[in-house]
Point group: D2
Amino acid sequence: MKRIRCPIHNHILLDERAEELVDAPEFQRLRRVHQLGMTNLVYPGANHTRFEHSLGVYELARRVVEHTEMDRTNGELAGALPIAALLHDLGHGPFSHISERLIGPHEGLVLKMLRSGRIGEVLSEKGVDVDLIQRILSDEDPASEIVSSAIDVDKIDYLLRDAHYTGVSSSVDLGRLINIMIFDEGLKFRERGMSAIESLLVTRFLMFPMVYLHHATRCAEEMLLRAMEFGISESVMTVEQMTLMDDMELVIRLWDDGDVSAEIARRLFERRLYKVAFEERFDPALAALDDVVIRKIETEITSDAGLNAGDVIVDISRFPESNLDGIRMVTEEGERRLEELSSLSGYLASAERDYWRLYVFTDRQNSEAVEKASGGSFEAFKTG
Amino acid sequence: MKRIRCPIHNHILLDERAEELVDAPEFQRLRRVHQLGMTNLVYPGANHTRFEHSLGVYELARRVVEHTEMDRTNGELAGALPIAALLHDLGHGPFSHISERLIGPHEGLVLKMLRSGRIGEVLSEKGVDVDLIQRILSDEDPASEIVSSAIDVDKIDYLLRDAHYTGVSSSVDLGRLINIMIFDEGLKFRERGMSAIESLLVTRFLMFPMVYLHHATRCAEEMLLRAMEFGISESVMTVEQMTLMDDMELVIRLWDDGDVSAEIARRLFERRLYKVAFEERFDPALAALDDVVIRKIETEITSDAGLNAGDVIVDISRFPESNLDGIRMVTEEGERRLEELSSLSGYLASAERDYWRLYVFTDRQNSEAVEKASGGSFEAFKTG
Amino acid sequence: MKRIRCPIHNHILLDERAEELVDAPEFQRLRRVHQLGMTNLVYPGANHTRFEHSLGVYELARRVVEHTEMDRTNGELAGALPIAALLHDLGHGPFSHISERLIGPHEGLVLKMLRSGRIGEVLSEKGVDVDLIQRILSDEDPASEIVSSAIDVDKIDYLLRDAHYTGVSSSVDLGRLINIMIFDEGLKFRERGMSAIESLLVTRFLMFPMVYLHHATRCAEEMLLRAMEFGISESVMTVEQMTLMDDMELVIRLWDDGDVSAEIARRLFERRLYKVAFEERFDPALAALDDVVIRKIETEITSDAGLNAGDVIVDISRFPESNLDGIRMVTEEGERRLEELSSLSGYLASAERDYWRLYVFTDRQNSEAVEKASGGSFEAFKTG
Amino acid sequence: MKRIRCPIHNHILLDERAEELVDAPEFQRLRRVHQLGMTNLVYPGANHTRFEHSLGVYELARRVVEHTEMDRTNGELAGALPIAALLHDLGHGPFSHISERLIGPHEGLVLKMLRSGRIGEVLSEKGVDVDLIQRILSDEDPASEIVSSAIDVDKIDYLLRDAHYTGVSSSVDLGRLINIMIFDEGLKFRERGMSAIESLLVTRFLMFPMVYLHHATRCAEEMLLRAMEFGISESVMTVEQMTLMDDMELVIRLWDDGDVSAEIARRLFERRLYKVAFEERFDPALAALDDVVIRKIETEITSDAGLNAGDVIVDISRFPESNLDGIRMVTEEGERRLEELSSLSGYLASAERDYWRLYVFTDRQNSEAVEKASGGSFEAFKTG
């Protein structure tokens, strides 16, 4: 077993299969894709990558297999699960979630990579059950819940890791979370450790206002999305080409060959971000607006303020759906859903509203014009 | 300035007044009063004391004074506040909150100590404004909120400290909490750091099921309370004498001179705790029962099970009231109460119900009899 | 397996045998013996106990057994070693190393306890091989090196633990130390992790000036030793009785029944420590003085200064011998002794001299007289 | 004051001058220069950058100014020192120390940047004393020792930071180090905290074998150096152009336009590193070989093994000189040099030999040929 030092889990123990997969160029590329997109513009320590996160998720899956003694009950799965965990983020394009909005869900891309390239070769050489890996990564196996559900090894790893690198204090009781896991037609948790689950859910909840939805990060990422869009329309690259790039390659291509896209990219890398010109707090109708409508409003504000495409950005907070219903707890009185036992878990979704914001961003010099133009733009869309 | 090493705050900086107060025997006694009563029977690391906690609260008050530049606006208060913080727990009897149920609130005792003994002498020699200290400790000064309110330096210190010594993971962003404090006719907080406040409140919320209300701690502490009561009725000591004892002195007195009290004390120190014979989840009427009624039920169960006084303990979870309304936030649109901005803070009180329990404890050998006797005892008291 | 939370190792996993041994009153007594004697007078967080340390050493032994897969090669030993680790400190009297100077080595007492009392009962009921435990604890088995040698699980635990509770920063790479252990006719280490060994040795080296030999701790502990001696000569207790006491019981007995011993005990608990009146840096002849000679000099200084027995304390730093020769390293070129590979390890013993001190302590009011009386007292003993 | 979150120092407090300097494109470029070159190929968490390190060094300098109350004694210097600290690494080329071997010392480049570009503009607009900054950064001011000497804020920051991101345990007592600093015609330290200094020095010593001189890092960095050299000879770029690149730009330029350089760059980014084919332990004559001789031997081995330029790399450990003599300690008996008080500090230089290695690296398939070719190559150079 190869040992890799990890600031979060102390050590990652790679078996031979994992080691060869990690050596594949497709996996090495993840070294050059930041875990948190452009968050390092706000938290300068947030330079961690999908590479180390993937190793961490593998390690946690390995520990879950060990804790649940899965090799006794299902040897095939015990072998496949950590490999599925290792590969789960392989389909991420440059800047992860930002390019995803143009490329489409990264989960789809992974599935293709399982049967092609060096990854496909290694899996086949080592006799790994690719169908099983595919089922796990497609939410078609009971074990999928370990890798991707409301509480999974992916989330546990990224919450711990994001906190470590941003310097934000957070609280995830890793040992206890694994200790209360039961694998029995899916992932279940012993009630005795319910506070560890609540702690994880709240930690995640609080990472949104502090990190994931920080207004400057939102602004930078929306600017980058615009740069990517211009980059495609300016023929710097196709969407297909972008898919295989890493973060810096994308930026350098835009610098070299782009026009408006190069300008935005340069702003980003010199951290000349737009500022908040206008903001609104939560309104259910605003929160329900889809991307198309928002872009339409953005265009109107841009034109009302006498500016050009790309000069104004409208952005609303998007909290990911988290299917907390799905969490099953094992109590002395039988199986229950988490929400029956934990009021707190039920409240979190509505508490997100406190941190919901609609922002209109623009360059400082256009602030006044954009604020004025934004003023009435949202009234018509608000809840009567 | 004297520097004392602290695992929580790195260093405590004592000025000359604080140093002499710490040297007073009344303060040195706090070295021998555990911060968390008998919690070390469950978390073996929880041997920390009121002494180090008091130093920590002093240090935090000192940092708040520094951060708010209080010496510019109110030099008197800037001088008095850390001293008030230092002394706030001086009135704790042995095992803190357990003896408090017989002695009465520790806050009253502190006030007497300000004007007598070595503490009184030092305060007077050093020209400290004792009236102001008294007002701060009696909630009669706007600055009282810094030492004792829904979010205060006392709570911040004990949450950080209890987590460090129990090994429970928790999340308190000390730097940010102090950074958003504003002192302006009481303690207020800038909205920008609201997530740090929510994080503190949730951390505290989760410490109840994990630590403060752990069933074995509850059991041990109720057993100790019975030992104290027997100790008094067996004339081992008076309540007044107990007030001045420290943890171990109390136990040794009971061992030496007590009868039933000695027996219970010995059980505790050999960790032969009672076990849970019966339990109920939250019911509003049960939760509203007062001590007198509970003791009455306890007596009935004891007798129904054919046992002797002290053999059965009935205990219900008691969450402290926390007046979250009182928290004032400073937003761009003016002052608001926390609850207007933070849904989460509003939910926590009701979420406590999930962890509420009624326990009936007894020795393992009496378990069956007590379970049977408990069966119907609570039905009549439940919400129709 | 019972899980106990530990701030150092996260969790302690007790098997049934360990759980019953921990429940024995002899073991529970360790809850009331501080790990670091009176160090909490200097580092207020240092209230940790032999109880939690013993659990920690057990846990580390358990992990070493797991890592070396000892159950495959020697099942008997794999079962016995963690139990031996658990019990290794059972013979400590009140304030550990201080009473040891009157009682004699604690290692001897443990051996008796293996075959008597509740510990003896449990070991016999559970079919533990007591002879093997005894051999391990008497340095008569190759596995003794895991529990007690230059690098052992005892040291690893106490260095990590003492740092956690004092707040001193230190560096012990637990995961790596265990990872490079090989059990093969004693404990050996892989050369690849030599830096982890050097780091441990230096951490230990630096704990002496920072914590273990801090002048105020030395002073307090020497005062306590005098209190114990007076307590015995004043018939407060016999040495045998003292052996079974815990820290606070000892102090309360002295308070209640002692004369000079009560006075010193009270000084200690009100932290009215003697101060340094005189000090010398390292001199080989001074460092070689034995206790009898030092006491003789102490008596002379006391009398020269016109004071009474107990008013003056002479103390010299005593670094424990550490047999670093014994450490065996496994390299690609075969087995080597640590000192052949690590110059640093060879230097540490002589580097201790930098921190060596001879102190003469007395009450502040006698400082001048004692300083004067000390002046010439050591010249005659110094290296020509 | 702007606050930036930092996982190492909790918060960085930027004044207005610092904020504008940080916003300069020259400074933003440091976001894209890794602190530890290619170390992330071995420690996947080591993605931290010169940007955050520079902020950290600024923050520490600010704290030293605060601690030494420098604004009272020398207001000019108190203002300039943190700015000098902030800018000290501005001259680093891509992959820091690797490109430095072709570009020349980064310290020279910084000086030019002080009087040109956006940095020059801001310094002049804000009325910063550029001459003083220049003197500090050229070791011509007594305060230079705070930024660059045997113990300085640069080292303190990078040791803490490198440990945090690699996950290596290390021990630097930041609070105490700053607390014992005295500024009085240069930087001095109070003897009372000597153990904190020794701890820092040992931490640094141990980082060399664990991180900075790890064989795989050494190999990767030597491969990259070859790629840069080929890149220049293949006219991909000039040395001047390289100076202004960041890490990824360099690599992408090599990929796009290089020949052999592109091949090596691709190997590096797919982590197909050479392996150790041959190694030697310390020999004083080998350690004294200069780069020219080593390259000559490298060429001979390459040719003996029938390989091409670039296929074989010879590398010897180079520990940086550390002028520990220079450290001045303030004792009760007057000023002393560290080496008079601390034997350990004197030993460290010679202890480095234990970790000294000469490596010959090559592709796995050439291993045998290269090992054979290396065999006799070094005998002639060894100490008779």
